[in-house]
Amino acid sequence: MLGRRGNHQTPFYDRIPLPTVGVILTVLCAGAVVMVLPFLWMVSSACKPPAEINRLPVTWAPQNVSCAENLQALYATSPHFTRYMLNTAFMTIGRTLGQLVTCSLAAYGFARFRFPGSNLIFAVLLGLLMVPFQAIVIPEYLLIRGLGWLDLFAAIIVPGTFSAFALFLLRQSFKQIPLELEEAAEIDGANPLQILWRIVLPLSTPALAAFAVITVQAAWNDFLWPLVVTTSAETRVVTVGIALLQGQRNTPWNLLMIGSLLATLPMLVMFALLQRYFIEGISMSGLKG
């Protein structure tokens, strides 16, 4: 439904001469190699027996392919791994939906309404994004402990619902939308909430997609905070589960890599699904008329 009513059309594309395409592709592919090398190593190591992983010089193709053995060993060492993944998924969804609601409302407010001190409040909120988390982890822990939320999903989801990043991203995007569209809706008698829901959000699809990609990814990979506030397998997340594999004296690389790979796959699927929202340009014509 969202944003699918003719206001999105094929975007504007240049006609690029073929040789230029070749040059661009070559440059992009060369860059892409560096971007994907670590990922490729992670994939290949997930399928190597331990002896092969630390070989010097670095080897790329596994000689004895042992993905299944590693997977088995992962579950033998970390029987709750699936549970960790589900916990991560649950908390990621909770945080993302929460942010979507609270941050889009706030961002719309900051983008459209001027009131005394609004800029100051916005700067302070942005400022909170700037405090290094290492500096506030202890007071934050004491706060959550005081609320009695230790080892509860709420300890991760509720604070994770408020984000200065999402606020900033969405505010910038909302400010991009020409006012006349909203003014027209206002004349039709729509209230600000309806305008946000019917006009502003649909027009912000690419920004919302970027918001989703980044927020989901950040929530999914969050490590330090979930570690501090959870202690049981029922609440622990997959990043903590992977960290638990690494002992003081031994680093089971095969398990770390297959665990990391499993934890990464949902993110790749998410990116692939959301990608299409980056290939649609918006057109104002459908609404202006």
């Binding site: 971007m35 400022g127 700037m130 290492q134």
Partner: protein, 285 residues
């Protein structure tokens, strides 16, 4: 607007205030805290290690932010064209964001390793095969800057792609009718209309550059944390080590406060200067 503001203030404002108060105390996490006035700040001014960490942080920001933004914008512009394998390439550039940082550190360590490493062997004709990139205090910030750019590129690319999509196609069509060439179209249409996103990316990149922690932590985990002689120690790592290694939580909070003020200053400056170059469609043609 209210719930988000109040939530942010409650869940982050209170801890920040507590940390602010702690910066005037001496506290090792076990003994009761002692109020020491401005002693932590006086110490900080005289602490060479602090100035060194500040210098490293600024150098890293200068090395990584402009290059990182230029690269991510270029990649976003190119991957916004109709190209074969475009989705595949976009995914490739996004991969660092989801790659396990531990796996990444292994590969990057190998890339910079003398004798066996990828870089050394590429530079071998120049006689640069056996350079100790990761231990030499005069070189280590280069690998850290490279990894910083690598880590952030996919993230900024996503923001730029979203920003590019928000530019109405009519404007390009109009420019084409006016006979604008590709460069003119970029300069008169893309660049101004992308400016809100550029501001967003710039503010976020600088904030994250001043908080660089993970990449230094893993890139130096196999040598010495923060580099030999603190040569790669950033402010965020410095305050973390003061707090959790030396149990000087008061001093660490003072460092955090200074770091916060620096970033706040830079950000407020950017938000003020934005009026000169950022163009919002809702605020006029």
């Amino acid at each position: 607007m209210l719930p988000n503001t109040l939530g942010l203030l409650f869940f982050f404002g209170i801890p920040v205030l507590v940390a602010f108060y702690t910066s005037f105390q001496e506290w090792n996490a076990i003994q009761p805290p002692v109020f020491v006035g401005a002693a932590n700040f006086e110490r900080l001014v005289r602490d060479d290690a602090f100035w060194n960490a500040l210098k490293n942080t600024v150098v890293l920001a200068v090395m990584s932010v402009p290059v990182g933004m230029a690269l991510s914008l270029s990649v976003a512009l190119l991957l916004n064209q109709r190209l074969p394998a475009r989705n595949l390439l976009r995914t490739a550039y996004f991969l660092p964001v989801v790659t396990s940082i531990v796996a990444a550190s292994i590969v990057w360590t190998w890339i910079f390793q003398p004798r066996y490493g990828l870089l050394g062997n590429l530079l071998a004709p120049l006689g640069l095969r056996d350079v100790n990139w990761l231990t030499r205090p005069d070189l280590i910030l280069y690998p850290v800057a490279v990894v910083t750019i690598w880590l952030r590129l996919g993230f900024d690319m996503v923001l730029f792609l979203a920003g590019l999509q928000a530019i109405p196609r009519e404007l390009y069509e109009a420019a084409l009718i006016d006979g604008a060439n590709r460069f003119q179209r970029f300069w008169h249409v893309t660049w101004p209309l992308l400016s809100p996103t550029t501001l967003l990316v710039m503010v976020l990149s600088i904030i994250s550059a001043f908080q660089i922690f993970d990449q230094v932590y893993v890139m130096t985990s196999r040598t010495v944390r923060g580099g030999v002689g603190g040569s790669a120690t950033t402010l965020a790592l410095f305050l973390y080590m003061r707090a959790f290694t030396n149990s000087e939580f008061g001093y660490a909070s003072a460092v955090a406060l200074v770091l916060f003020l620096i970033i706040l200053g830079i950000t407020v400056f950017q938000l003020i200067v934005q009026r000169r170059w950022v163009f919002y469609q809702s605020e006029g043609e």
